[in-house]
């Protein structure tokens, strides 16, 4: 019977064979990884880092309003004075990188002249925020192009814009058909002059207590003469006990002051 050779330093045949198989396996794995994993994969994470410059190298279409000022400084200056100062030139004139940066003569940005462009923003929609100037297309000089009266670069007209209804048309229309129609906006809203220029920075004031409404609607207040510019005779102003009516709520928590008779 042959004696098993187990001396130290002698690797058994089967171990050599399996070792070779393992080495071939590992080697081919390494080669396949080299072959199939794309270049730069894993440099920054589980993705090709080379994809980033591809995305970052996409062509530009919008040049930015600062670029326009290089040639059209006069228009830009005019725009910066008016209510359209926050608009980018390309909001209305469309993408203009080709024109502004590549070749000014090759393409010309669009110059919208119809009503549609203006109505995109200024057509009345109840979803638009209160105070944003909107018109009802069929009521506001129908069929006339906006640019007949408004210069889009500085849209304020020669004609004085109605102080409040110019922007707060919805409130003005509601109030006009309410019992409060004869009250001027300023009766309740003390408005800083700057509100017209910077509407969001300088907000009009609102009444803060029940006594304000109680001037007209409190029990025992005058029923004849004039109050806040309104002739009180022959008017049936509802009177309540300002102290107790409506528990501790403020008047406008139940009644909408621009349409107080509404449910």
């Amino acid at each position: 019977m042959k004696k098993l050779n187990l001396s130290i330093g002698k690797v058994p045949d089967q171990a050599v064979r399996i070792g070779a198989v393992f080495l071939i396996g590992i080697g081919s794995m390494v080669v396949l990884r080299q072959r199939f994993i794309p270049e730069s994969f894993g440099e920054l994470g589980h993705y090709r880092a080379n994809a980033i410059p591809v995305v970052a190298g996409a062509p530009l279409h919008y040049a930015g309003w600062q670029t326009c000022g290089a040639c059209h400084q006069d228009e830009l200056d005019k725009k910066l004075e008016g209510f359209h100062r926050t608009l980018s030139c390309e909001t209305c004139h469309g993408p203009a990188y080709e024109h502004a940066v590549v070749d000014p003569t090759a393409t010309t940005p669009t110059v919208p002249r119809g009503r549609e462009t203006c109505l995109t923003c200024h057509g009345y929609l109840p979803s638009r925020p209160t105070g944003f100037p909107q018109i009802i297309e069929l009521q506001h000089n129908p069929m006339e192009p906006c640019i007949k009266c408004h210069n889009p670069h500085n849209p304020a007209t020669e004609e004085e814009t109605p102080a409040c209804s110019g922007c707060h048309g919805q409130i003005a229309r509601t109030k006009a058909i309410s019992h409060h129609s004869l009250l001027a906006c300023e009766t309740c809203h003390v408005t800083p002059a700057e509100h017209k220029e910077n509407p969001r920075q300088y907000l009009p004031k609102k009444p803060t207590n029940r006594e304000f409404c109680g001037q007209c609607h409190g029990e025992g207040t005058p029923t004849s003469g004039t109050l806040l510019g309104v002739d009180l005779s022959a008017r049936d102003i509802p009177k309540v006990d300002v102290e107790t009516h409506g528990n501790t709520y403020l008047c406008w928590q139940c009644h909408y002051p621009h349409f107080p008779e509404g449910k």
Partner: protein
């Protein structure tokens, strides 16, 4: 005897070749790393992604629903004009007196919104611009089987369109519906915060054209960034916070009904 020598020879050669392959695989990336650093030295003004971390603020009470953002996005990023491919779009929410929520976004809002059917019945209504939220924990990146979508060092979630296999997993995974399959490139496409613009110091196209500054773009971490000021001054909400995706598109005055 000769047999044994041959086997030893074989093992030695196998080890040698394996070692050389390992050396190659280690050296390859190192070589390209060396190249990258040389390029960076040659162009000192090169964009450094590690110095930025971007986000966008959307002020709901300033949005007038003009859809200029969605229109500009399509022009800037060559998004197909068909009304079902969007990187950004504007939704109109109308909550009626029965507290029922009606949401519409005809053509993404690009051509405006029709007058609502029941104006009398509106309890409240507003516009919500939507886009990819560039989540800090993006579910789309998790599900991509090939690593074709990823979050960059500056926090923007991008798509590697040359590597994307078009399997649509990411489109399914996005809880915000912000992705679509580009019909010509046959790859997933989505908002990149206009990565080609912001890396050149420009604003994303939607922010550039927004007439009321409802969209604010900037650094989330930089203290003198307009976005940081917004985060400091306003109450900030994100869409679907319960999913822990940690969006970097931050909304102010967001109604609880917005999904």
């Amino acid at each position: 005897m000769a047999d044994k020598l041959n086997r030893r020879d074989f093992v030695r050669r196998a080890v040698e070749s394996a070692a050389s392959v390992v050396m190659l695989s280690v050296c390859g990336p190192m070589r390209s790393l060396g190249r990258a650093s040389e390029e960076a030295e040659a162009e000192p003004a090169a964009y450094d992604a590690t110095k930025h971390y971007y986000g966008m603020g959307v002020q709901i009470d300033k949005c007038i629903g003009c859809g200029r953002c969605a229109d500009a996005c399509k022009s800037e990023n060559d998004v197909p004009r068909e009304p079902f491919y969007f990187r950004t779009w504007v939704e109109r929410y109308i909550i009626d007196s029965e507290r029922e929520v009606h949401v519409d976004s005809p053509g993404g809002g690009i051509h405006g919104f029709p007058p609502p059917a029941t104006e009398e019945d509106i309890l409240r209504s507003f516009f919500v611009p939507k886009l990819c939220n560039h989540c800090d924990h993006p579910p789309c990146v998790q599900v991509c089987p090939v690593g074709a979508t990823f979050k960059t060092q500056d926090g923007v979630v991008l798509v590697d369109q040359d590597y994307c296999v078009g399997c649509r997993y990411c489109i399914q995974a996005c809880p915000y519906g912000a992705r679509y399959l580009h019909p010509e490139k046959h790859a997933a496409d989505k908002c990149t915060f206009c990565y080609h613009r912001i890396t050149k110091g420009m604003l994303p196209a939607c922010v550039e054209v927004c007439p009321t500054q409802a969209r604010v773009f900037g650094e989330i971490k930089g203290r003198s960034s307009p976005l940081h000021r917004l985060m400091k001054m306003e109450e900030i909400q994100v869409l679907k916070p319960e999913l822990n995706t940690e969006p970097k598109v931050l909304y102010t005055k967001l109604d609880g009904e917005v999904r």
